[in-house]
């Protein structure tokens, strides 16, 4: 098929605006999947994606379409995640495309990630086709969306395609718009093979599978290829396209999106963003790579049972193969034993990794309170980066601590300005300016410490704005802050797993909150247990758990002593699932409870 008949496009939108559902309809309409294969959000293949109803990884699919003009087209679609944690997936997908469908939920209108993802597409010079989705909803307001398209996004509203992914309305119009407006790929025509590797996964049966977009040249089986950045040479063992399952084909040509399997051992050998070329006739220069992604959020992950460390090590290793954004390093904790300090793109990413460890690898894990990475300059002039509160030097050795900050764009209804500004201030942020979007909405440009938006910022925003507020953020360097390490002592023993770095102004309330929570979740012991929060040696909050007074099951068991023994054995067994901190036994559930809720 001539390259003029190929179209590569991503579907981008704010979270939940219907990208994956629209993909379903496109796959059905083009008969890429049979009626029998149909299921909702088909491309969300991971259990976790299906259960949470969100897309985590970008998914490519190749479709054949006969246009109204009678011509046959090859359409490569990339469904992308909407959640801000995974925006790097969006960028990488966009790099493989010439166009993008920008979905707008007709009942929600333009939201923060609509703007952010549109900007990503425009940066890559993609042609953007607006689609107003969910027009079937009674609360759909197409006119409002059109105004917002013009006012906020500066996109021509008359090009917008009204659609309902759910009801299958406007599907053919969308396909026609892609054929008409999305430019076909351009082949430089110099004969060199250039293919951009935009993702790679590890398949237990087939090994490393790389996702590629061919810019120029042709890939065939048996070809000797080279990854330009790493310099690794290998041989193409298999190749094909996503329909949406991997289906082998003879060759991948300029403009195509597909997969290759070469004889490389680990995904580490295939760097995402690298350029694949021919070993025999390498391209003179590589394609522009991707911005490297760095984890922003860190947390210690420990096996609940210390015996499971090796199994956990294997599991995190395997996870990383399919998730380049996830990092890990061995560490140990006095309270939790041996585990890993892991890096994530955000809290959702962290939750997902933990959840995958539980499900896919059957690992019972505890994770510590998420932390960001701090730049510390000591009084002796040395500098270090701290991603684990345990390693923060004593206060008297610290000259300055800098914390990461983020630029957060918050889109909200007018009437919530006051409350949201207050929240930003409570979170130690500043509002740099307020942009009026239309008669009902404003965009706050703010800067906040990353640490403060990690946990409940988005939830609070949603609740203040009754779901109408949305946010997007990007990294914006660091700034000095008055941060201190707060320790939690249980029966006078510091429990490193509960230590955290907090802003001085928040230490006390945070300390009180943690102590109260611990009091709630630590079961009564045989003696009174003091729970204290301390900064340096100074106690800033305290609680105490009264002692248990009675437990006897004082029945005369007659001769049935086995029964009594079994009760004791059960309790002994229960003790194994507890961590002993000094003289106190803390059940794993208590750690999980506290670490997850704070």
């Amino acid at each position: 098929m001539p390259i003029e008949n190929t179209r590569n496009f991503s579907i981008i939108a704010h979270i939940d605006h219907g990208k994956t559902t629209l993909s379903d309809r496109l796959l059905e309409f083009t008969k890429t999947i049979t009626v029998r294969e149909q299921q909702d959000q088909l491309l969300d293949a991971m259990d976790l994606e299906r259960e949470r109803g969100i897309t985590i990884k970008a998914h490519p699919v190749c479709m054949n379409y006969k246009g109204r003009d009678g011509k046959d087209y090859k359409l490569n679609l990339l469904d992308t995640p909407g959640h801000v944690d995974f925006s790097y997936e969006v960028s990488r997908s966009l790099a493989a495309c010439e166009g993008a469908l920008l979905l707008i939920d007709a009942s929600q209108g333009v939201e923060a990630q609509t703007v952010a993802n549109l900007n990503l597409a425009l940066q890559q010079n993609l042609h953007v086709i607006p689609v107003i989705n969910k027009v079937d909803l009674p609360s759909a307001d197409i006119e409002k969306c059109k105004r917002q398209l013009e006012d906020i996004l500066q996109l021509p509203a008359d090009e917008a395609v009204p659609a309902s992914a759910k009801m299958g309305i406007g599907i053919e119009d969308i396909l026609e718009a892609i054929v008409a407006f999305c430019p076909p790929p351009k082949d430089p025509g110099d004969g060199y093979l250039r293919a951009s590797v935009f993702d790679s996964i590890f398949d237990p049966y087939r090994g490393v599978v790389s996702y590629v977009r061919v810019i120029s040249g042709t890939i065939i089986r048996g070809q000797k290829v080279r990854l330009m950045a790493s310099g690794n040479d290998s041989e193409i063992k298999d190749l094909g396209t996503f329909r949406p399952k991997m289906v082998p084909c003879e060759k991948l040509e300029a403009g195509d999106v597909g997969y290759i399997i070469a004889n490389v051992k680990t995904t580490a050998d295939v760097k995402i963003g690298d350029t694949l070329t021919e070993s025999r006739k390498p391209a003179p220069e590589p394609l522009p790579g991707f911005k490297e992604i760095h984890p922003l959020v860190f947390s210690g992950i420990y096996p609940v049972s210390t015996d499971d460390f090796e199994a956990l090590k294997l599991a995190v290793g395997k996870l990383q193969i399919n998730d380049a954004a996830f990092t890990f390093m061995a560490e140990s904790s006095a309270a939790l034993g041996f585990g890993f300090r892991c890096g994530f793109l955000g809290l959702l990413h962290m939750e997902i990794v933990q959840e995958r460890l539980r499900r896919e690898f059957n690992m019972d894990v505890i994770s510590t309170y998420p932390s960001v990475i701090y730049d510390v300059r000591k009084t002796d002039g040395t500098e270090l980066q701290v991603d684990n509160p345990t390693f923060l030097p004593p206060a008297n050795e610290i000259e300055e601590i800098r914390e990461p900050i983020v630029k957060v764009d918050i889109m909200i209804p007018n009437e919530n300005i006051g409350d949201v500004m207050q929240m930003v201030m409570d979170k130690r942020g500043v509002v740099n300016n307020t942009e009026t979007l239309d008669d009902r909405r404003v965009l706050l440009h703010t800067v906040l410490p990353l640490n403060e938006i990690l946990v409940d910022f988005n939830d609070k925003l949603k609740s203040i704005t009754r779901g109408y507020g949305s946010m997007d953020y990007e990294h914006a360097g660091t700034q000095p802050a008055e941060l201190v390490k707060m320790d939690i002592l249980i029966a006078s023993e510091p429990v490193d797993a509960f230590s955290c770095i907090v802003h001085r102004s928040k230490a006390e309330s945070r300390g009180r909150q943690l102590c109260a929570k611990l009091k709630e979740v630590i079961p009564q012991q045989l003696f009174v247990v003091a729970i204290q929060a301390a900064i340096g040696g100074k106690i800033i909050a305290r609680e105490s758990i009264s002692a248990l007074r009675k437990d006897v099951t004082a029945k005369c068991y007659g001769g049935d002593i086995s029964r009594k023994r079994k009760l004791l054995e059960k309790q002994k067994e229960g003790k194994k699932r507890m961590k002993s901190i000094g003289r106190v036994n803390i059940p794993q559930e208590a750690f999980i409870e506290v670490l997850k809720n704070n």
Partner: protein, 367 residues
């Protein structure tokens, strides 16, 4: 083998909290039942080298047997076993199940100790417990037993019963003491699975409150101590010289043989239960078979766990030598916390530690 237990599984009315194997007599052929127990006694005499120190008739309600049947059982037993060395022969008695002549007969047949199930002295609590006796019935039974001249009369009480106030419990203790029994057992009500009480607990009609349990426990401890009863096991109090030898044998892990349906036996690290089905039991013994069901072989670790669970309950305490080196840290910790002390090589619970015996046992094991 020095200890014999005989289980008589009949009760005139079944209490809603009780999980022992028992049932109403219905149309159980009583004579056949007595013969079956005697047949089993004969088998036990052949299988074991019996040098009995203690015999315990429990239930159920042993005195639910008529005087005639009970007497046949007692004489039959003496014909088949040498009971001359027996130092303690206990029989459980329910109020309203005994007459002067029945008591005299029991006394004459060698029973020298009675455990009388009074449970409570106030009508309301007795009603909650579903007991079929009134306070005065219990008192009358007590005097009947005294008149018959048993060496020791013990009474069973229960506390922390739904609706029972601390005052009512103190009153129950008071009235019990005024009768001057030789021994008192005071059990914290336990919600046993498969009982109506457990069901009510599950449905939220009843609640377990540890604080309340503790208050009731200490009320008993203080009142009985000051009346001259020694607290020699978590649930048991005795005048000097009147401890239950049979029960102490259980607590110290000695072997015992059980007769009757549903009874337990432990011999040489083997523990089993007789079939808990009276009719099947009778059939088996009639056809010369054993009523024992496959049991369990006790490992050393299991026996050790049992010793922790049982010996810590006693006044003598748990031999310190049973505590392994890595566990010894906890002896110190719990000692510092005032829950136990070590004396003459034994770990004993303090006043604060006593109601926490199970937790202490678990804390010490595998620390």
């Amino acid at each position: 083998m020095r200890h014999l237990y005989v289980h008589i599984p009949f009760c005139h009315r079944v209490c809603p909290y009780c999980s022992f194997y028992k049932h109403t007599p219905g149309n159980t052929p009583m004579a056949a039942f007595v013969d079956a127990v005697l047949a089993e006694a004969e088998m036990a005499g052949r299988d074991y080298d019996l040098k009995l120190d203690t015999v315990y008739f429990g239930g159920g309600t042993p005195t639910a047997l008529s005087e005639v049947h009970l007497e046949r059982l007692l004489t039959g037993l003496r014909e088949r076993m040498d009971l001359t060395g027996v130092r303690e022969f206990t029989c459980e008695v329910n109020p309203r199940t005994i007459t002067d002549s029945k008591a005299d007969m029991m006394r004459a047949q060698g029973i020298d100790r009675i455990s009388l199930g009074i449970q409570a002295w106030d009508e309301e609590t007795l009603r909650t417990l579903g007991r079929d006796h009134a306070p005065d019935d219990a008192e009358e039974t007590f005097h009947t037993l005294r008149k018959a001249g048993f060496r020791s009369v013990s009474i069973d009480l229960m506390f922390s019963i739904p609706g029972q106030s601390l005052e009512a419990w103190r009153g129950t203790l008071e009235r019990s003491i005024s009768l001057n029994p030789n021994h008192i057992s005071a059990y914290n009500l336990n919600y046993e699975e498969d009982t109506e009480f457990f069901e009510r607990l599950r449905k939220g009609q009843y609640r377990v409150e540890e604080e309340r349990d503790a208050d009731f426990f200490y009320a008993a401890l203080d009142q009985l101590n000051s009346a001259g009863y020694e607290h020699y096991e978590i649930s048991n109090y005795a005048r000097p010289g009147y401890r239950s030898i049979h029960n102490e044998a259980y607590w110290l892990g000695e072997d015992y043989i059980g007769l009757g349906p549903g009874s337990y036996s432990t011999a040489k690290d083997h523990r089993w239960q007789n079939i808990a089905d009276t009719n099947r039991y009778i059939e088996l013994l009639q056809s010369g078979q054993s009523a024992a069901q496959p049991g369990e072989a006790l490992t050393a670790e299991q026996r050790r766990t049992e010793r922790f669970g049982l010996e810590l309950r006693t006044a003598r305490g748990l031999p310190e030598s049973l505590v392994k080196a890595p566990e010894q840290r906890m002896i110190r910790v719990l000692g510092e916390e005032g829950l136990l002390l070590v004396e003459n090589g034994h770990i004993r619970l303090t006043r604060a530690g006593k109601p926490l015996v199970d937790s202490v046992a678990v804390a010490l094991m595998g620390a």
